[in-house]
């Protein structure tokens, strides 16, 4: 019935035990599902989480699709996430995205053919004061210009692998994954 192994189910149960209701464990449960799914959260995994937490699958999908941190499609080793909400847009986020698209040769939402870099538009990163904001892994870059991002891309390309490819590393409670 479930696509999860017994070990994964044990991890989910441990998470559920931390909260008053099963529903409350949804976000960390999705992290686990994404983790065991190799960094991707597909509908099967969402359904399995739903059945384990006794929630309607649509609700789980609603939550998973709300957060850009859950990857519904496979991503590269690095994800350049550029905020495109109002303040960032006013400070040139769209131009920045266009610049990256041009220099990486992919459209926003796509991954380079070598599977190294994914370019993504994201919703507000909460760094409006220093717009435009960009997030790569768990690091924030603010007041980003085209020159900055070019330098970052060069730097990323030289790295073989990303040590913390999801922001979950930031959350102490879920750091034990």
């Amino acid at each position: 019935m479930s696509v999860f192994s017994e070990e994964t189910i044990a991890r989910l149960d441990e998470l559920i035990s931390r909260y008053p209701t099963k529903k409350a464990a949804l976000l960390p449960a999705l992290w686990v599902a994404q983790d065991v799914g190799g960094g991707v959260l597909n509908p099967d995994a969402m359904e399995a989480v739903a059945s384990h937490l006794e929630l309607p699958p649509a609700e789980v999908q609603g939550v998973a699709t709300f957060y850009t941190m859950y990857n519904k499609v496979p991503r590269g080793k690095f994800a350049i996430e550029i905020c495109h909400n109002v303040p960032c847009m006013a400070f040139g986020a769209e131009e920045l995205i266009a610049h990256c698209e041009h220099s990486l040769g992919i459209s926003a939402g796509e991954t380079t053919p070598d599977g190294h870099i994914t370019l993504a538009r994201v919703e507000c990163l909460g760094a409006c004061c220093n717009a435009p904001a960009v997030q790569i892994g768990s690091k924030y870059y603010e007041n980003v210009s085209a020159e900055h991002i070019d330098a970052l891309i060069v730097q990323i390309k030289s790295l073989p692998d990303n040590p913390d490819h999801t922001p979950q590393g930031l959350i102490s409670e879920t750091a034990s994954f």
Partner: protein
Amino acid sequence: MSEESKKSAEKTANTQAANPNPSPASTPHEAGSQQVIGEGSAKLGNAPVGASGVPVSMQSPTAPASPAAPGTPTSATGSPSAEKAAEKASETPRDKTDIEKKDSATSEAKAQAAATSGVEMFTVTVDGLSVEVPKGTAVIEACFRAGADVPYFCYHPRLESVGACRMCVAAVELEQFGARRTAIMTTCNLQVQNGMVVKTGTPDVKKAQNGILEFLLANHPLDCPICDRGGECPLQNMTIAYGPPTSRFIEEKRHFPKAVPLSDFVILDRERCIQCMRCTRFTDEIAGDGQLDLLDRGAESKIAVFSDTKFTSNFSGNTIEICPVGALTSRTYRFAGRPWEIKSVDSICAECGNGCNIAVQHRMGEVVRINGRTNEDINEEWTCDRGKFGQYYINSDKRLSSPLIRREGRFVESTWEEAFGMIADRLSQIKAQYGAGSIAGIGSTRCTLEENYLLGRVMRGVIGTNHLDHQMSSYPLLPMQTTIAEIENFKTIVSVGMELQREQPIVYLRVYKAKRRKGANWIEVASLDSGVEAILRQVGAEAVLLLPHHLQASELERAFAFCQETGTKFNLLLPDANSWGAPTAGILPNALPGMRPFADGRADVERMWGVKLSDAPGKAAGDIFASAAKGEIKAIYVMGNDPAKEFADPSQARRGLESAAFVVVQDLFLSDTAQFADVVLPSSSFAEKDGTFVNIEGREQKIKQAIAPRGNSRPDWRILADLMARLGTPVPYFSARDIYREYRRASGA
């Protein structure tokens, strides 16, 4: 400016231009703003359904007695003439109508109950009128109670408020952080505070509402001419009443898929959706399956089902009715007509025994859709999909349109005269030759009470046989011990051996409501043997047991006895629209109308019918078919039933029908049973006749004729009345009501 948005802007402007001097009566908002605060005048009667359910009492500073009583419909709209009229009305208070008396009595009783049960009452002033409402009431409900008009899209009295549409704003003066301040706030998700002052019509509020609507319409496609919702669309209505005259948005509108089928019944137009989340809250809170949810984020948000699944909920049709725009529409009603061309007739659903109140809506003689009607005691305002989408058989081309007579093994169309002549001749002949006991009648749990009563009269009073039955499988007739509405008050609800969602949909909604809103424990078990007795022994009188009719009769009797012992309420849920009407009409081998035994009702019935009833014991359906197979019963008269398919042992019914010398079937279609008939009479559907259905609770409700009978068909009662005349007992029945009156007297009422 893009071509499209230019057009839409012009269109909005034209809407206003067409009515340069809007009279206050036609623009409720302006009327509201003209109201003099503190005068104690208020518009009343606009409160939505749920608001009447709010326990409140009202105080009107200047006119405490009459016209400002809750629920009093007045035309006081704020215009000078209307105000005069209102004044006049206050000088000579008219008597309240019965409904108004009932309404104010209910709200007083509820307020008193709230007061005695320790619920704090808060006084809120809305547009100068103070109302007293219990703590915890939403401000919007207090506004409705005071007769103020607050526009809304996402608010729904039966759903939890989320404040998604932002339309219900008002200027609210409240105590916050030790100071009194006024703010423009959404009133649906704000609870009342004592001494709160709410103003619904200030220029600030009007400006805010204007702005909200401008945003809501920024990307709304305004394809009203081809939208099924057009003409009955809250978004259209609110735009006329509260909207801006034009839009400042000149950009191209967003484009999304426009006809996404969510299921066989529901279709989604993503461009029209305003993300009010009524449908998602409905599936979550009312239907309990949560099949719809808001996926994605921000500008990409969309209503959808999970992944590639379908919207299979048995209650999906309700989302169409509560959608405040044309985003969710019906696939069966798609482009079937404009709302203003449609006539609506109040009726009762014929699909199951719950007895939902529905509106049969028809256009040019065709039923185009079924909508729910509010009845707080039964379906609140919901319907199931079987009731909503399962009634299109009425328009089917396969329906019988004229009587059929079997000649040399084949059915030949005939006239009613010919068919009646043949039935009367053959029945008289069989009666003369083999006695009245060689004729049997099968009634129907889907025909009306009147029709079943008349079948009983034809069989017992005219022919003189007691072989009458309606049950296709034998079950005891044990009345429900609670009403449908009372089920939601039990702490433990045990349902046995049925899929409640499909078999008893409206009972299911109550059960889910009890579970969701009142914390009841709903236990579903497969059979009575799965530990039901242990559970009931524990909870006893705080529990209600829900049972389907298809359990063994012995099991049901055992459960009944056990419930008597523990004090648990025993609810046997019968399957069909008139499962109670057929037996109470007297379609039982051993009972007369009103389910009276012969000893009790005989004198009444014999006097009324002017005949002597037969003393021979009647046979139940199984015995009728067995006797027919043995050749003892020669003729079987079947009204609106299909024993060849639905009898507990269909082969036994088939053998009986095959052996009987003469079989008459009244039905809508050429059913399996009709294949055995010598004469088939086309009857009318529930939408084509008047009558009474008795629901699972034993509640009598009237169905009303919406459209003319299809083809040459006739209501079953009309057929039986004509046949009675042919059999030598003419009774001038002009309407189902005549028969109902006779039934009441015959049942000793």
